[in-house]
Every structure is written in structure tokens, then in C-alpha cells.
């Protein structure tokens, strides 16, 4: 099995206060772990989804994968090459093979460039001179279902859905091997969400590109990803094949997330799992199982010890004392 991307025990730290402040304020550690012990791999042609709520560290992990944030520990390998130790030139070469789709569709487009210039920006950055930029922009626009006239428009003249498509077109420019999509449907109406998801699915089957999707919306995940990981407080709590996770979620947090997405039916029998309280601060991680402060099924063991890795199948694992 050839993994395109292999992440092992990645840890990303952020400095939250200065050393001086830490010294004065009696804070023992001026850093927090935004991501901790994250391990996953994405195989050729696969779509991997990372699900979590705000502050779970999912976007941070994606930035670390792209080499945009340094990883404090662990390894991130792309086609066998270690990303964490790459120099500037190697990183630039690496970034030819990965492409980002950003959360904010309009905000991720430079406001003073036309759509045509925006989607051919990767060619200019990587000095790809053999291609005819005008023809390329028409080709890319066509791939994402926009008419070629759009090349002359500016970002503020685009609707949310159109800006998304431009973002996809730009991501496709250099025929990347991996597309990292951060909240691909955020801010879109449900009637437009489907269009973007369908587009991503189509590109995947047509081009065979790998995708790394980051989202808080489990409904999105179900329809586009092969494997899914759930993140809480910077750690993976459950990881496995998407179908398995939806058919039989094992971690209480996964359960709660799934039940928080009710179907539009007033008669649906609701077994909503309501979590207590709010996500704890990363500065002050709970002892034992980090989810125990909110878990409806909390037991004594959860307060004491960090839960062991529980393996359901070769591909499906979770960290919980009492898997469902």
C-alpha cells in the first residue's frame, strides 16, 4: 500500500504568552499543544476527512501538513520525503504538489487580481512558462463549471459558490497530487453545498487526486470521504472508514456530533446526546481522558487515566475507556 501522505505523532505547539509573562504569571508552560499525537495516512486516490469543532486543531494540522506551520514533534512525509525538515527550496517544490482550498471563499482571493490572473497565479509563482495562461484559465474555469467570461471578473463580483469554484480552479492549476480543503462548504446555502461537493467528487474520479477535507459538518463528510478522523482538543479520538463510523460510531464524542445533526423530520425519533458544558481551554487540559468533563458516559477510570487505544478493526480505532 503506497501512502501519499504519512503523518506520525505530529505535535504542533503555539506560544500563548511571552517567556517574561510566563515567569511573572507563574505559568509553567508558555506554549499550548494545538495538535498532539496526530497520526494518519492518505493513500493514493483516497479522500480523508478530519472532523472537529472550533478549536479542535484541525486547521492547524492541515497547515502543518502543508509546511506552513512547524511541527514540534513527529514526522510528516509526503511521497516518502520528510516535510518537517525541508528547506525553503524543497518546500516550494513540495507546494507544487499540494493545493489548498481555503475556508473563506472570497477572502482567499487577492482582491485586486482578476479571476483569470488568480487561477493562473500558481503558474507565475512556479515560473511555468510553457503554458498559454489564457487558454489555461479557460480550461480551468471549464473544469469547475464556470464560463470563460469569468476570467475578467474580480473577487468582489462573485457569489460565495462562484468564489468557491474559482478556489477549486486555482487549486487544480498545477495538477496537484493532494488537495487540502478547509471547510469546503462553510458559509454556503444548502442548495449550493451540493454543487461544490459534487464538483469535488467528480474531480476526484476524473483526475484521481487525493483530498484532505477539514470540516465541522459530519453531513459533508459522509458523502465525500473514504476515511474519517474525529478530533477533540487537538487529539484524534476516533479514526476509521467513513462508512463504519457512520454505521457504528464508537466514541461518545462521535456519537454526540452525529446526533447533533438532526434530519429535517419532526417525527424523527431523537436520541440526542447532549454534551455537558463547553470545550475546555487548551491551556488547561483535563486529566485522564480529556473528554471526561463533557462525556455523558463518564466513569471513574476516565477521570484517572488516559484511555488506551481501542482497535475495532485494522482501520478503525479510538481512544476511550468505554467504547459504545
Amino acid at each position: 500500500m503506497s501512502a501519499l501522505l504519512q503523518v506520525e505523532n505530529a505535535r504542533v505547539r503555539f506560544r500563548v504568552c511571552s517567556t517574561l509573562q510566563a515567569l511573572f504569571g507563574g505559568v509553567s508552560d508558555p506554549c499550548i499543544d494545538a495538535v498532539r499525537d496526530a497520526s494518519f495516512s492518505i493513500d493514493e486516490g483516497e479522500t480523508f476527512a478530519l472532523v472537529g469543532e472550533s478549536g479542535s486543531g484541525k486547521s492547524t494540522l492541515a497547515l502543518a501538513v502543508a509546511g506552513l506551520l512547524p511541527a514540534a514533534e513527529g514526522s510528516i512525509r509526503f511521497e516518502g520525503a520528510e516535510v518537517t525538515t525541508m528547506d525553503t527550496a524543497a518546500l516550494k517544490a513540495y507546494r507544487r504538489h499540494i493545493a489548498f482550498m481555503w475556508q473563506n471563499p472570497v477572502g482567499s482571493l487577492s482582491p485586486r487580481l482578476s479571476v483569470g490572473a488568480l487561477i493562473t497565479e500558481p503558474y507565475r509563482i512556479h515560473r511555468v512558462r510553457e503554458r498559454d495562461l489564457k487558454a489555461e484559465s479557460a480550461r480551468l474555469l471549464k473544469m469547475v463549471g464556470l464560463p470563460p467570461e469569468f476570467a475578467a471578473r474580480y473577487p468582489h463580483q462573485l457569489s460565495g459558490g462562484q468564489a468557491r469554484r474559482v478556489g477549486v480552479a486555482r487549486a487544480l492549476a498545477l495538477d496537484p497530487k493532494l488537495i487540502i480543503a478547509d471547510e469546503p462548504t462553510a458559509g454556503l446555502d444548502v442548495s449550493v453545498q451540493g454543487e461544490i461537493l459534487n464538483l469535488l467528487n467528480r474531480l476526484r474520479s476524473d483526475l484521481g487526486v487525493c483530498m484532505f477535507v477539514i470540516t465541522h459538518n459530519l453531513n459533508v463528510v459522509r458523502h465525500i470521504s473514504d476515511r474519517t478522523a474525529i478530533m477533540y482538543l487537538g487529539r484524534f479520538v476516533e479514526q476509521g472508514p467513513t462508512d463504519d463510523i457512520f454505521a457504528r460510531p464508537r466514541h461518545p464524542y462521535t456519537l454526540a456530533l452525529l446526533s447533533a445533526n438532526p434530519e429535517p423530520d419532526p417525527d424523527a425519533v431523537l436520541e440526542r446526546i447532549e454534551l455537558k458544558g463547553e470545550i475546555p481551554s487548551l491551556r488547561d487540559r483535563p486529566a485522564g481522558c480529556e473528554f471526561h468533563t463533557r462525556c455523558p458516559f463518564v466513569g471513574d477510570a476516565c477521570r484517572q487515566t488516559f484511555p488506551p487505544l481501542h482497535t475495532v478493526s485494522a482501520a478503525h480505532a479510538l481512544t476511550c475507556h468505554f467504547p459504545r
Binding site: V190, N198, H216, H223, P266, L270, E278
Partner: protein, 322 residues
């Protein structure tokens, strides 16, 4: 006294723009029965926010109301002067807004803001504070007395939304307007807020006008549902009617599109192609015709009438009228 707390009749709201009048709301009819929860569903640009702003009469400066009545507890709000209107706000009707981070004043303490809005009560400061503490406890804020002295930014988003709800319900209003109160929150917090609202509604016995684009939440919380599209109400009925027997093609499509309703894994999700028409130069006929799958000849130039499809179920579509 009618059985409805709020009755909106034939309400239109336009905005003056450089290109002409933008007709944000057109001939809207809406009832909120006493003690019920009415949900308003619609996507961006459907006129939800304008509807709320016109009910609480805090419309933008360039808005005007060419026709309509908004009857609240048997008085037409559009006839009231500013003082009378102000007397209703926060008293008989109150609002919970979408973004909890920005709805509270950042430089005043929670306690100050919660006692300020009790200015109508002829009570001592201590008494007002006691009332604030009591309300905070009711919305599930632990150790409320000591938190009165804190500023909004010292609370998390979910907590801020609880405080907003506490403020809104402090005067036990007859009508609570909730404008996408959970959109800015994470899913697990959304569940908490929905349950809180439902509990408080039963306890206090007020009516709620609940605005959301989240179909699942509306289905779970609301008794009646109103579907809006491009400034019009296209369908209205009990939650069961609307979600089980959608009569308008837009409702039908919207329900199909909601990924939460699609249990089977699908690589090709339903969508509603096309875009909302220009509200300055309205097309003739049905407003939804350019995106409708059942479009007929009549849709092109005849505006569909508002008709009863079954009992409490209303719709404006030519298809149901044949």
C-alpha cells in the same frame, strides 16, 4: 383578544438603492399563535432579517414599508409612535441575535447591562440584581452572582448566547424573536441552546419566532414552519405538513438538498441550480420559476395565489392549484 400574539398581514418592505427600490419583502402574511414556536426557514437573501427588523421596527434608514400591518397583541405596530414602540421592546417582545460576540456591549459588565434593561421596574438596585442572578441561573450559568461583575469577552460564545437569552426572557415577554441564535455556535453547543430555549418556552409560556436556515433544528423545535424565498413566503403550515408533505417545489428541493436527510452515501447530491432573481427588477410571474423543475406556462406571467392546500397548510404555487 385573538389567539395570535403576532399577526403580519400583507407586509412589504423595500430598500431605496441607487438602482431603484429593492423589494426585500413582498406581501408577507404570518401568524404566531399564543404559546407556540414558529420557525422561519430560508436561505441567504430570502428576507428573514428584514422581517425581524420590521417587526421590532429597527429597520435600516433606507427602508420603507409601502403596505402591510404588523399586529402584536391586537395593536398595529406600524401605527405606534417611537415611545410606545420602545415600551414594547424588551418588555412584551424581545430578541436574541445571531452573533453572541457582538450583541453585548463590550465595555459594560453583564450585571450592568442586565439591570439597565430593567429600567421600567420600580425596584431597588439589589432587587434588580437579584432578578439578573436568578435569570442567569435559569439559563445554566454557574455561580451567577459572582459573574455579574464580568465583561462579555470573559465568556465563551455559548455562554454569551445564554446570557443573551437570559436578558431576552428577563421581562417574561409574550414574544421572543430568535434570529439564527445557534448559527455561530458549534453543533454540540447548538443542541444545548435549542434544549434551553424549548425548556424556557414551556416554563414562561411565551411564543417564539425562530429564524434559521438549519432545517433539522426547525423540525425539532417548531410547531409551525414558514418557508421564505426571495422576499416571499412560499409555504406555511405545521411542521409535519411542511416537512412530510412539502407543497412548494422550493421546499421540496430544499429538503432534498439537506445532507442530513440523505442517509445513503451519495456521490451526486441534489442541488437547486440557478440563483435568486434580482429584487430590484422583479421578473413577472412566479418568483421561483427560473429554478423550478415543474415550471409551467402559467408560471411565466401569473403570480401564484396564496392558497390553502389542506387545513392549516398554505402554499403559493400554480401546481397545487390545478
Amino acid at each position: 383578544m385573538s389567539s395570535d400574539v403576532l399577526t403580519v398581514t400583507d407586509l412589504s418592505v423595500h430598500y431605496r438603492t441607487d438602482h431603484g427600490a429593492l423589494q426585500a419583502l413582498r406581501h408577507v402574511n404570518l401568524d404566531v399563535p399564543r404559546g407556540s414556536i414558529v420557525g422561519v426557514v430560508g436561505e441567504s437573501g430570502c428576507g428573514k432579517s428584514t422581517l425581524i427588523a420590521s417587526i421590532i421596527r429597527l429597520l435600516a434608514g433606507n427602508a420603507f414599508i409601502p403596505n402591510g400591518r404588523i399586529e402584536f397583541e391586537s395593536r398595529n405596530l406600524l401605527d405606534l409612535d417611537e415611545a410606545a414602540m420602545r415600551d414594547l421592546r424588551g418588555n412584551r417582545m424581545s430578541v436574541v441575535f445571531q452573533d453572541p460576540m457582538s450583541t453585548l456591549n463590550p465595555v459594560l459588565t453583564i450585571g450592568r447591562q442586565m439591570t439597565d434593561i430593567q429600567y421600567r421596574r420600580n425596584a431597588s438596585r439589589a432587587d434588580k440584581q437579584r432578578r439578573a442572578v436568578e435569570m442567569l441561573a435559569r439559563v445554566g450559568i454557574s455561580d451567577p452572582a459572582s459573574r455579574l461583575g464580568q465583561f462579555p469577552h470573559e465568556f465563551s460564545g455559548g455562554m454569551q448566547q445564554r446570557i443573551s437569552i437570559a436578558m431576552a426572557l428577563q421581562a417574561e415577554p409574550a414574544l421572543l424573536i430568535a434570529d439564527e441564535p445557534t448559527t455561530a455556535l458549534d453543533a454540540t453547543l447548538e443542541v444545548q441552546i435549542i434544549h434551553l430555549l424549548k425548556d424556557l418556552q414551556t416554563n414562561i409560556g411565551c411564543s417564539i419566532l425562530f429564524i434559521s436556515h438549519h432545517l433539522g433544528v426547525i423540525a425539532e423545535l417548531c410547531d409551525y414552519v414558514v418557508v421564505m424565498y426571495a422576499g416571499e413566503i412560499v409555504e406555511e403550515g405545521t411542521a409535519r405538513d411542511v416537512f412530510h408533505r412539502p407543497a412548494h417545489p422550493y421546499t421540496e428541493k430544499l429538503l432534498q438538498c439537506d445532507p442530513a436527510g440523505i442517509a445513503a452515501k451519495s456521490r451526486s447530491l441534489p442541488t437547486i441550480p440557478g440563483e435568486i432573481p434580482d429584487l430590484v427588477e422583479l421578473p413577472a410571474g412566479c418568483i421561483f420559476k427560473n429554478r423550478c423543475g415543474y415550471v409551467m406556462e402559467r408560471c411565466d406571467n401569473v403570480v401564484p395565489a396564496w392558497t390553502e392546500s389542506a387545513g392549516t397548510h398554505f402554499v403559493s404555487c400554480h401546481r397545487t392549484q390545478t
